[in-house]
């Protein structure tokens, strides 16, 4: 039978945004694939070159709707390294706590999306309902639901409101019960597992060669997590484990993300124990950065995000370059897809947690 190209996207329910997955099929079998992006290109890196340093923080929030805080966090870390500012201890704890809450929120968004991808609408409703609790926590902490504008160069915007710790502990208790329900709902459902097990195999060697980071790499059994390997903020002082899985398929990626949510709950509880009660949370940053370069990287919910900053002595950056984790993972998607059936495409690509905002910039 003749081979043919199929365009999945830019308007296809599988894509979660504006991008195009071109797939070459021989009957039902995928023989080649080609991701095409550029439909959501906003010229972000050029846009920030004529903004002041504090003005870029709300822009960095808008890189990704799912994990806005981590992107403004990595930007602030890069500027702090360039300006050589020290961050107060309490601000570091608040930042790490917000990172972990953001990780839970982002993984819940991914869980909702993968539910609809695989035809499980119950999963979507339950996951969005539970994500709403974390959005409410963020609203009372930062003042906005999705684009927080909370991280600042040299600290965070404001301290946590009264009774926020109490609300947080209650939410975490409730959420841990929910996680067990997800286990029963998805892990022990034969229909769900039939669509996930043994798909999208990628060995640890291939993952490292392709530059894949984050949960996809950890699902191949590699113990690589920047919170452990290149600790930023106060992650050295916390007790936690790296979640890995040895199966290298989409089922392993699913399990790693579910385990990471549980681990994030543990990290937040640990942070609440060790956080100093009071203290300054914000430092007045200088207006202009010195001439030089700085690089900061951190563990985004999707992988390793990196920002490289060049300062030229003025109050605007000369160049700000972004390494998006998903851009690298999507480039490796032909390797993931080759040899599988066309019906497996949503479950293989949905497991990567696609966010086009950070991919296209």
């Amino acid at each position: 039978m003749a081979e043919m190209w199929i365009n999945m996207g830019p308007q296809h329910p599988m894509t979660h945004g504006l991008w195009n997955m071109r797939i070459k099929v021989d009957g039902e079998t995928i023989t080649d694939a080609e991701p095409v992006i550029g439909y959501l290109h906003r010229g972000w890196e050029k846009m920030v070159e004529n903004r002041l340093y504090p003005q870029i923080i709300p822009m960095a929030d808008r890189l990704c709707y799912g994990s806005a805080f981590t992107w403004s966090h990595v930007y602030c870390m890069a500027v702090e390294k360039l300006m050589d500012i020290e961050v107060p201890e309490r601000a570091q704890y608040i930042r790490a706590m917000s990172d972990e809450l953001q990780r839970i929120g982002n993984h819940l968004m991914w869980l909702a999306a993968i539910g609809t991808d695989l035809g499980n609408l119950t999963m979507f409703l339950y996951a969005t309902r539970d994500r709403e609790m974390f959005l409410d926590l963020f609203t009372s902490l930062t003042g906005a639901r999705m684009t927080y504008n909370y991280c600042r160069v040299g600290g965070v915007r404001n301290d946590s409101p009264p009774n926020w710790t109490r609300d947080l502990v209650r939410t975490l208790d409730y959420f841990e019960k929910r996680l067990k329900e997800y286990d029963m709902l998805v892990d022990q459902s034969k229909l769900f597992r039939m669509r996930m097990e043994g798909l999208g195999y990628m060995s640890a060697k291939d993952c490292i060669n392709a530059g894949i980071t984050g949960p996809v790499l950890r699902a191949s059994g590699v113990k690589q997590d920047l919170r452990h390997n290149d600790p930023y903020e106060i992650y050295e002082e916390l007790d936690w484990n790296i979640c890995t899985h040895d199966d290298c398929d989409t089922w392993a990626r699913y399990r790693v993300r579910m385990m990471e949510m549980q681990e994030s709950v543990n990290i937040v509880r640990d942070i609440l124990k060790k956080m100093p009660e009071s203290g300054p949370i914000r430092v007045k940053p200088p207006r202009a950065a010195p001439v030089g370069t700085a690089m900061a990287r951190m563990e985004d919910p999707r992988g390793e995000s990196l920002m490289y900053l060049v300062g030229d002595g003025t109050d605007k950056p000369y160049r700000l370059s972004v390494r998006s984790p998903l851009y690298v993972i999507i480039s490796a998607s032909p390797q993931l897809l080759k040899g599988y059936r066309i019906a497996d495409v949503p479950s293989i690509l949905g497991m990567l947690d696609v966010c086009v905002g950070e991919m296209d910039r």
Partner: protein, 250 residues
């Protein structure tokens, strides 16, 4: 499929696996949802309570504003500009004074709250208004009169911070206005044009005679009052010879 995978699946799924456990969960949640009705609110009539920190559209306390333009400069999308309007307070039988006040294009506003955060006199506030839909783009541009909003405690943003040299030492966080940047003059470049003194919103600049030039005319240089100054950068921007720079408190 390897042997290991088969055995694992049998162990985890067991006899009740397949679809019964998911159906049990769904049924439990369904009964919970039915018992705890209603789950939604009638939106236009009932509204969710917003938390204290909630950021809606920016608002303006007209009388507190001094027209310094800090909000205009810090806005990331440049949706704020200063316009000349009639002052609200006017004496009996006189024409109202012309004052500069911010005008906000809410169609471009990010609701980031920077204008309220950087405002030196707490004139810009963050209000909880979020219903901002309009029929045309012109209606979304709020002039200073429309931008006014009732004040309640907590609407203004007070950010307390320390200087970079004081981190991890015992220092109480202070308001931004207490450690401000002061403009400094480069005597070589100054041409005594007095524009900084004319444009200063708080009259912190006074022109002082420092001598006479070769033709016998007086040479006047600006002197800055550190108490009054709000470090708004207006003088630095209007200076035609770039003689002024900000000396930062670090």
């Amino acid at each position: 499929m390897t042997d290991k995978q088969i055995s694992r699946k049998e162990k985890q799924l067991g006899l009740t696996g397949f679809i019964f456990k998911p159906m049990y969960i769904t049924m439990k949640q369904f009964i919970k949802a039915v018992v705890n009705r209603p789950q939604t609110i009638l939106y236009p009539w009932e509204k969710m309570a917003t938390p204290d920190a909630f950021r809606g559209r920016p608002g303006l306390i007209f009388d507190k504003c001094i027209g310094c333009g800090i909000c205009m400069r810090i806005c990331p999308t440049r949706c704020i500009d200063l316009v000349e309007v009639d002052d609200l307070k006017k004496a009996e039988g006189e024409e109202p004074k012309k004052v500069k006040r911010p005008r906000v294009n809410l169609g471009r506003c990010l609701m980031c709250g920077y204008c309220a955060e950087y405002c030196p006199t707490d004139a810009m506030i963050v209000t909880p208004d979020y219903e901002l839909a309009t029929f045309s783009r012109e209606e979304a541009i709020y002039d200073p009169y429309m931008l006014q909003h009732d004040w309640k405690p907590g609407y203004e943003v007070h950010i307390k911070e320390v200087l970079p040299s004081e981190v991890n030492k015992v220092f109480e966080p202070r308001l931004r206005i207490e450690h401000k940047d002061i403009p400094v003059l480069d005597d070589e470049k100054c041409i005594s044009c007095t524009r900084c003194a004319k444009d200063c919103p708080v009259d912190a600049v006074t022109m002082v005679e420092v001598g006479v030039n070769e033709r016998g005319r007086p040479i006047r240089k600006p002197v800055f009052d550190a108490e009054k100054c709000i470090s708004c950068d207006t003088c630095v921007e209007v200076c035609p010879k770039d003689a002024l720079t900000m000396k930062e408190a670090l």
